[in-house]
Amino acid sequence: MIWLDTLVQGMLLGGLYALFAAGLSLVFGIMRLVNLAHGDLIVFAAYLVLMGVTLLGLSPWVAALIAMPVMFMLGWLLQAAVLNRVLGKDILPPLLVTFGLSVALQNGLLEAFSADSRRIPAGALEGASLDLGLVTVGVMPLMTFASAICAIVALNGLFYHTALGRAFRATSDDAVTAGLMGIEPKRVFAIATGIAMVVVTLAALYLGMRANFDPSIGPARLIYAFEAVIIGGLGSLWGTLAGGIIIGVAQTAGAAVNPEWQILAGHIAFLAVMLLKPRGLFPRAVD
């Protein structure tokens, strides 16, 4: 039954990656923006939550709840003031700007919080586990997975059943024609990035509660998130979950063979999918 355990643990790990990736997927899908600072923004949000816990004495959940609107505003500002000005056919300007933001964030956090590893205290949840008969799973990974599903269901609901979601999809299809419908693409983009930052805060909460973090770990998280998004296919949130699960299972399976192969196995799975399907598993019909 080891393989079943590996599969279940891998899927749960995939939930964490999907959570990292959901905000990225939203932004990438709507405006084709490659945000290389996404991982550092997660780490930034984790410090924000940590500050709520340590300075204000809040529970992590309340701290995250308070951090969410703050992050929304930051995302909105970032998009409106900076990213909207560099979006275009050429991918280099947004790539460079977000790379610059990534380096600035990492080093800013380093100055503010030092290179020491930190962790958001989660109390009794840390290390708690649940016996499901065939396999035993950690409560925290299970909650992460559930949160990923909730986040994706919520984002999909927003995307497919609200006027805002309609505007998102229309702008993504054809920003010029969306303008003719009275939609300001730049406003839509700012809101989308704001929402992505709310999801980032949720991801940061689990990142910080599950393991130690320090200012430098953003890029590694980013790469898993990108792999999940690309495997899933542009604009498909369930695809992103599938991508996260593929990476998670591959990593867990790799680690089961040899602990040193964990990360490698995830990357190889990504490369294999890209070789077979260069546009991901669930690409949109039109692009």
Binding site: L96, E111, L275
Partner: protein
């Protein structure tokens, strides 16, 4: 009756200035301290990487964020040459270039299937995979890395001559040798790129950059062009990587495959200076080094400033500092424009 010319006054002046600078650069170790030589080594190698990335992205349109793969594989191949084959480190640098070239073939095969952002991320993942595979190589220290053995570093060809010439210790002599090699490499790489841009390939690159459809319609083989640029860039990056780690004499997967050091900073240098020009990376590396020197006492503030400077340049001067300068003055230090000279042409005599 009609003549093609690329020669300009500024271009000739640059050529003379470069020769003077190179001669002065060769003689410099006689009059400066070891610290300055090390700083210059750093500047020259970063400039080399910047010129190469500029060729790749600025001229070839290949926005790679995985160049650290070639720095790392080049450095490790050099180490393998020294430790496993017993080569002299200087000779083993060539092995670094070869290894990077070999890695570039499958990388290009894979990455050229991907478009735009996917290409960028794809190259990064390949660099990560290479790093993780190299970390499995126990003979070269695995995940923790290793150092060049003493007998190899003390025996590098030419260091004895340098010791007697300048009357310095062995370690300083090694730095001087590395510095000379870096000087040779940056001149060779920049010179090659300059030559390339003035050859047929340069026209093809400019054509593809401006308009792919039209380039195909006049017979440019876009695919072959991209392959050529990618492979050349990889080999040169591998050589540079190997040289960098000859100087440090210590290697680890994290250091050799660092995305920030070998790609992020390099991209900042190119963009701050001005992408798509040979002058741009030169200006960029000077700004980079000035920032580093000025903020050296403030820890990571300088990196933060660098990141913010890159953002500011992209927002307010997308063509970089050199773009501002040449737009105002019309100056081109490395002219690549082919001018038709002859009767009836505006400004052609």
């Amino acid at each position: 009756m009609y003549r093609l010319t690329t020669r300009t006054r500024a271009g000739t002046a640059t050529e003379i200035a470069v020769i003077v600078l190179v001669v002065a650069g060769l003689a410099l170790p006689a009059v400066t301290s070891r610290g300055v030589i090390q700083d210059l080594f750093f500047i020259l190698t970063m400039l080399t990487l910047a010129q190469i990335w500029n060729l790749l992205a600025g001229y070839g349109g290949l926005v790679s964020v995985g160049q650290q793969a070639f720095v790392g594989i080049g450095a490790y191949a050099m180490f393998a040459g020294v430790i496993l084959l017993g080569w002299n480190p200087v000779a083993a640098i060539l092995l670094g270039g070869l290894a990077a070239l070999a890695l570039a073939v499958p990388t290009a095969f894979f990455a050229f299937r991907l478009q735009g952002a996917y290409f960028a991320i794809g190259t990064w993942v390949i660099a990560e995979v290479t790093r993780l595979l190299i970390a499995q190589w126990k003979a070269l220290g695995g995940g923790t890395g290793t150092s060049l053995p003493r007998e190899a570093t003390s025996n590098i060809m030419g260091t004895d001559a340098i010791r007697t010439l300048f009357g310095v210790r062995e370690a300083a002599a090694r730095d001087i040798l590395a510095y000379w090699l870096a000087l040779a490499l940056v001149v060779a790489v920049t010179g090659c790129i300059y030559w390339l841009l003035r050859s047929r390939l340069g026209l093809a690159l400019a054509a593809v950059r401006d308009n792919v459809d039209a380039a195909q319609a006049v017979g440019v083989d876009v695919r072959r062009l991209k392959w050529a640029v990618f492979l050349i860039a990889a080999a040169a990056t591998g050589l540079t990587g190997a040289l960098i780690f000859v100087q440090t004499a210590r290697i680890s997967p994290e250091a050799a495959f660092a995305v920030t050091d070998w790609t992020a900073y390099v991209i900042f240098i190119v963009v701050i200076g001005g992408i798509g020009t040979i002058e741009g990376p030169i200006v960029g590396v000077l700004v980079f080094f000035a920032l580093r020197s000025a903020l050296a006492d403030y820890g990571s503030w300088y990196l933060m400033t660098l990141g913010l400077a890159a953002i500011a340049v992209m927002l307010f001067a997308p063509k970089g500092l050199w773009g501002l300068i040449s737009a105002r003055s019309g100056l081109h230090l490395f002219p690549v424009r082919r001018r038709l000279a002859g009767p009836k042409i505006e400004g052609g005599h």
